[in-house]
Symmetry: D2
Subunit: 346 residues, 4 copies
């Protein structure tokens, strides 16, 4: 694991799905070097035994408790912890000068009151909210370059906002008439043992969930408002799909549909991870499996109505991939460092 | 297979997925007795070899060509053939006095011009269109009782219309503002060998398809208009989900949302195959696997917006199940004869 | 649910996978009528809410605690409880004169010492062991007709013994050289929430488990010895396959391979649920999904070696299906009453 | 795609599953640079359209016909073509001095007669057979270093031989008593449209196939004989598992079982891609998904019998991964160059 000129990093929540994906990416990263892994439940066990998928790379790393301090040289920490638990650790690391990419929801809401309403708990460190940069990488590069605390976007917000923000900003999409019909693979629900996530319950089944108001809806409306200058009203319905990874968001919207494709194409010119397909073509989640990519398809339906379909890997661009991308930007590295653009296929 | 007072039936297109499901249901049916099976490609082969899932029941049945005449005593024929191919055979059987349940699209459009536009071919037997009864069973019982030619609804139309028709008829849903975001298992695409339906391509993937205008959209708009008295405008987007069977339709709509649940509950009181869940609860496709059921969930989101989610087994209520239900009604049998209401679960 | 001349039955462990499958079968059974359902955890809740797949049939049934007494008229009880918990309830019902089909392992071992060694607990009611009939239906019809306590075989033993017993009895298979390489769908592991059975862990993965000695191995060796007159030595390795239902057992064996197909064909002539395929043909689990069938394929490889492949639905013939078959026999009904032979396919 | 000091390479059969995996790996390879892609059916089309999973990397590459000559500078060619078709192209490239890694079966059999018997066709270029090095990388490093024509092993042989060869060579495993019960994901069957590989047929199903004698059996026996000095007799039964990627081989064998773990551990000490688990632990295919790894578990069952379980990704170590590994060795690069050891998980 020795790397020259490496930047030592810590990963919290290492044994969850997002944590495991972070470790997979960091194992192959040429600059960030994992020096510390922590988890709430597997404390004291060897990482290699907890995560055989990591192979020999993980050998020798022992999982620490999340309350333990990482080594002095650690300059960057990824927090893949549940909301609520994350903020306290973030505050401690922040005070030490460690840069933070927080993958929980704790710093995604600029307003502590909105956080409290959405998560039904008062925010443990509201004083840090103003420090946090919302890391929708393609729309926050400047702020990220100086960021010390990065709030990594949720998976649904990432797929949705990448499609919506340029269109809202350009004024070609009616912000009051947006249906976001979203579909997620099961890994998005996390690794905790739950009967309703058992293979036999989920396999060969499809269902909507999280109604009437999923927490990501507020995040999307607020951040769209900040990034695009106009706060949309979303009608958001998420679904659980019998596949492990992958997220597809179908946006049914109205506006100047003939301009949508052009606006999106311009917005993402030069962006290595966002690809706008030819007008009329539709993306598939399997085309981005294991990558940090987002593929977007645009199809006008009528004179004023159309559909935008956006796909990501919920653990990639929707979580760990974007977290590494954000950290790359924050440390002045090329945005693509250590990130794959070729999907595992088939 | 001997049954007393049985009604001899024929099944065309026996080796496709819909045909196989028809045979599964008819094997267990106490009145309809399969006397003739035909298919376009497996002609001359033994049914038991082509469809081992049917077990010993299929032994002794040889697959006939679709051009061959069924035995004299056949009183009912199920046609599970591609559109275009179906109408010619229907016409011949109709002339012989055989009652017909046609599972193709050939008789779903009352207007030959609409058919021609939608299927890009002139209708082979427009003179029969006026004879056909559109078999959305719960909304056509009277007409079905006297029907000689039944047009079995498509799978998307079945799941969608069962949710929409009562609401449109009651005037509590805005017909101009309906988004139908639909998701189907792969068996809906049929059994023909296609690379894009191979396991390795479909598994762990999700995609939208059929845009800008899937053929079922016209069927839905037209039949909703006829059944509800008001023709809605639908924005319809179908998706392919990595599961074999199951269909879920998410309807994002506007109107007098507080009345939706009551209207639907009243509409389907006493209907053995349609179940309206408690308000706020959401159905799952696996809860109706292998059945002729449709489960419907209603969730108000705002003052005037809400979501209706409808699930069926695309080969059950979406095809073969409803076909048997329609035939039951046409022959004066109890609607539920030979049809299961308990899903195969897990 | 009213049925004339019905036999009132109770189902214990109603909300597990085996219990749910029992209820699905009993809902469609023309004689057995469910009067009492009990479960250890869902006590007091409505069955219809716990098991939406059962549809309207389940409405009105409240789940009782397993300690509560079933109504007087109950003549038959199915116990789908964990081993250990089952025997105590069986003893109580037995004393009341209720006939019992026990789907746990509690009465599968005629010897209390063998049970104790295998399950690491002394048997709670050894006095009942001599009463129990091992319900491998095709090989125990006579004993079953008079049985008051039926030990329903495990899923692996069912698929394995149906293939092995006739060959061992005929002396055409070497009992000392048998490899049983078995593969099971995930539902065989039960419904309890476990991280290693989560969709994201199991999907797209395959693994062996249960080594060096799975509990079913002893059951198979002992019962094969009793049924065939010669106790084989098995080398048994089970695997977990990413599918919900289905079990395939590959038996690699030696002996007079040219006689295998004939011996098996003769043994199962007239058996409605066991089908020996033409020599050289191989079965698939999907061909028996949802049924009480067992399909067996025989392929000679060399002069003295060959392969036998046996498939069942682990919840059907491997559990609930065979339980109903056994109860049918015990109550003098036709063996096939209420049981399907046509698989849900595709 | 510009790389300094790169080695220009060609990929034939680029649009099949093995070809796509080769391209995925080569896209991330720091030395090999793809200059030419050819396929038999997609000739003339753009690679980026045929394989959206490759993302922007593929843009600009046009698919050539397999008969066309690659650019002069191409020094290495990967042939992912069907057997029979491959040898002719190999011969042409060989004559030009291009090094070849052939992923078909054409050069895996040192004896033209054995090839003819197995593939029922005479070998098109028997004069090249003596030139070919069988590329089971861990057992052929020296020969590979000088190889101009590398026969890449089949997937079943790779997983099987990595487990067997050290044990046979050490004389601790009886070569006459080996059962190889193998299970493969569906991608191993290739990308051609076939009804029996359709999602709805394969999903939720498991079956054995390829009996009485799969072609890989001969390859395994012959190559084991050459590599270990003793030709084993295998009883080989392959199965098709409902997952896209992954292969698990269960070897039931006899011998000095207490020495197996030690022999294997010694044999693969220092091998980056083969990992022998602690004795008694069992591997899972998902732990090696997308990698070039092979994980091996050893479990003694009795005094002289035991089980060895070996897992690979059939498209990784079983095909494209090992091909790149072999090419790395042949060109004097570090064996691990461009190859991942961390699985995509979950």
């Amino acid at each position: 694991m020795a790397k020259r000129k490496c930047i030592p990093v810590a990963v919290y929540g290492a044994t969850g799905y997002v944590g495991a994906e972070l470790l997979r990416l960091l194992a192959a990263h040429p600059v960030f070097a994992v020096r510390f892994v922590a988890a709430r439940q597997a404390r004291g066990r060897m990482l290699a035994e907890e995560l055989p998928p990591l192979g020999a790379w993980a050998e020798g790393l022992r999982i620490q408790g999340v309350e333990e301090a990482p080594p002095e040289e650690v300059a960057l920490a990824f927090l893949a912890l549940p909301h609520g638990a994350s903020a306290a650790i973030a505050a401690r690391l922040y005070a030490r000068g460690v840069r933070i990419v927080d993958l929980s929801a704790d710093f995604r809401h600029p307003d502590a009151k909105e956080y409290a309403r959405t998560y039904e708990a008062s925010h443990p460190h509201p004083e840090l909210l103003a420090e946090a940069v919302y890391g929708l990488a393609e729309h926050a590069r400047k702020a990220l370059a100086a960021a010390r605390l990065i709030a990594n976007p949720g998976c649904y917000p990432t797929a949705t906002l990448l499609a919506l923000v340029p269109l809202l900003r350009a004024g070609v999409l009616d912000p009051a008439r947006i249906v976001v019909d979203a579909k997620s693979g099961v890994s998005g629900a996390g690794r905790a043992a739950k009967r309703e996530l058992g293979f036999s319950e989920v396999n060969e089944s499809l269902r909507a969930y999280g109604l009437p108001r999923h927490r990501h809806q507020v995040e999307m409306e607020t951040q769209a408002g900040l990034l695009a200058g106009v706060r949309p009203q979303l009608r958001f319905v998420p679904h659980l799909v019998p596949m492990t990874r992958g997220m597809l968001v179908t946006i049914h919207a109205e506006g100047d549909v003939r301009r949508w494709h052009g606006v999106l194409t311009s917005a993402y010119r030069g962006c290595p991870f966002v690809r706008v397909l030819e007008e009329g073509r539709l993306p598939a989640t399997k085309h981005v499996l294991g990558t940090n990519r987002c593929d977007i398809g645009v199809v006008p339906l009528g004179a004023h109505t159309g559909v935008i379909v956006s796909v990501i890997d919920n653990l990639g661009k929707g979580a760990a991939g974007q977290a590494v991308q954000n950290a790359n930007i924050a440390f002045g590295l090329a945005e693509t460092t250590g990130l794959s653009s070729q999907a595992l296929w088939p």
